[in-house]
Amino acid sequence: MQQYIDLFTQHKSRIEASCAPLLNQAREQAFETFRRTGFPAYRSEDYTHTDVPGLLQEDFGFYLNRPASSGAFPLAFHCQMLLQTAFSAYDVNGYFYSGEKNQPLPEGVFSGSLNVFAERYPELFSAYYHRLAMQEADGLAAFNTAFVQDGYVLYVPENVIIENPIQLTNLLIGNQRSLINRRLLLIFEPGAQAKVLVCNHTGNEQTAMAATQVCEIFAGKGSVVDFCEMEECSPQTIRLAAHYVRQESSSDVRIHAITLANGTTRNNYRVDLAGAHAELQLSGLTIADQRQRTDNYTVIHHQVPDCRSHELFQYLVEEQAIGAFSGRIIVAPGAQHTEAYQTNRNLLGSREARMYSKPQLEIYADDVKCSHGMSTGQIDETALFYMRSRGIPEAEARYLLKLAFTMDVLRGIRMEGLSDRLKWLVEKRFRGELIKCQGCI
């Protein structure tokens, strides 16, 4: 950890040189938090299965000189996860680039670089940036805030609806082992509606790349927000991501965390249901084999009455892979008529595969409907035999059953065509084919 403190102290001016003053304003305080807390300690209560200090112990290179131009994306690269997008954006090693053929978005919408947003909308920036992340003295979020140089912002003003999804493609590219820091800020004013798909890829299978990501989502009153993040990275990749969501009354938020291929992944989701009748669907699908690790840590905080949350996380863990799920649901005192349902289902495909699951419900109100269910097992042998008895070979039967297992999560996605596209990727994944989404590097 000391090397990061030294790095910051020595190169602060270089980090700040190319960034908007407002972005730099949050840096010092975050650095102090990081200096005080360090990275979350391995085996501490919330980090039982991810050793953040260990993962980042070795030296990683940093990209400290932000490219002068944050213009159009320089590489010939077209991710085709979605047939129709309203806007495509790229984050390459922490720096924002706009897609080439973007059509104008509805008036008042901002979709672009964090630095540009800070300069053009200083009041909005100050009102939202780091507001959710700073509530917890989380060492990882503090680290990201101290070092981050750019990122992506989507701001959708009141009652503006963006029909087609916005796609952000995060790329980790390079031949040097590097640590990059990325920021997402998504602001939805009352009545706003938009869908965001985030795809994560690595360009080089051999190079170890680590990324921290802090994503803050503000869902205003009555807003409808879809946020789907897909990871398809090399086994050398480390992803440490923290998502903070605040939902105002009657907002409707759907989040999907899809981990198709990865190295070591830690996803934090903290959702505050802060206004009555807010509705949340938080889902995750992890497919892991080899020595992949995926650790999803979620906290859903029902702060007020009459909110609903549905949480569904499914893991398919094979070979020597490890999956972890922690699902904490807090129903605050007085948050009556809360409905909170949590399900975690896991399939283990080998004797060495491991799954750790921790449902954690803390209910401080008495008139609520809450449930949780967790199951970890193997492929249903009776179903397998039934299929074989009809002439379907065992390998094919297993494939069909695994595919069926993943559909529970995928069918909840509201972006048109995306669940089919993901299903197609999952099929390729199970057949052992390369699963680069078409056109991706």
């Binding site: 249903d380 179903a383 008895s389 002439g391 379907i392 065992e394 069909l400 069926a404």
Partner: protein
């Protein structure tokens, strides 16, 4: 078609089948009756290769092939079919996908080209009518949310799709109301051909009013203790099994 000699099988070390001998020829319908726990379902499970059962002795020759050495999927492709007593629900796997995969695996085994989507749907429509299976059911996941009767009809539908040489109906009548029973039995009768055969496992005479057996066997305590013509079923209905023990 099927020759079983001195078949012994056990589950978890407990011997259930204690020396079965059975000969089934093409064109024939055999009924196997017997009290609960006599080994009827074990016999069918062993024949289709259920992994929970261990064959400790004996052999089963199916159209010249050593049945017991084949994996379940190969037994199916070779023409053996079991209508399950308790059909399995498979959430997330659609009937269409399930059946298309099965039919095309059978075709592959026979050296035929797979059916294309149009040909397959036509075949499915045709066979659905045979057992009066509701159209909406084939658009659902395999057996998921099907009623007891629908599950049994779905078994016979699958049988119609796969056209087996030897079909074993394991208590297909249990849990069926009288209309479903008639439809299921009619389906089975329509599928009869000179080159195929049927084994009906049942507790009751009732199903045999519709599917007429040529031979009736009584299985008791892991052995076939009596074999006779169809009149035996009527006698059992009247007297029970006690007089045979």
């Amino acid at each position: 078609m099927l020759t079983i000699r001195n078949l012994h099988a056990s589950v978890n070390g407990k011997e259930i089948l204690k020396g079965i001998d059975l000969q089934v020829n093409a064109r024939e319908t055999h009924a196997i009756m017997g009290p609960n726990g006599s080994g009827k379902s074990t016999l069918s499970a062993v024949l289709v290769g259920h992994p929970a059962f261990e064959v400790t002795q004996g052999e089963a020759i199916f159209n010249g092939q050593n049945l017991l050495a084949m994996p379940p999927e190969e037994r199916s492709c070779a023409g053996l079919f079991l209508s399950f007593q308790y059909p399995v629900e498979i959430p997330g796997v659609s009937m269409v996908n399930f059946m298309r995969t099965a039919v095309n695996e059978h075709r592959k085994y026979q050296g035929k080209e797979p059916l294309n989507a149009g040909e397959f749907l036509k075949l499915m429509k045709e066979k659905q009518a045979l057992v009066e299976l509701d159209k909406s059911l084939v658009n659902r996941s395999v057996n998921e949310g099907f009623s007891g009767g629908e599950k049994k009809r779905n078994e016979i539908f699958q049988m119609a799709m796969l056209e087996p040489r030897l079909a074993i109906l394991d208590e297909t009548d249990s849990g069926l109301d009288i209309d479903s029973l008639r439809i299921v039995a009619q389906g089975v009768n329509q599928l009869k051909r000179p080159d195929n055969a049927t084994i009906v496992i049942t507790h009751y005479q009732r199903l045999l009013d519709y599917i007429h057996p040529d031979v009736v066997h009584v299985l008791y305590n892991g052995r076939i203790i009596k074999t006779a013509g169809p009149e035996l079923a009527l006698e059992l209905e009247e007297k029970g099994y006690d007089w045979l023990k």
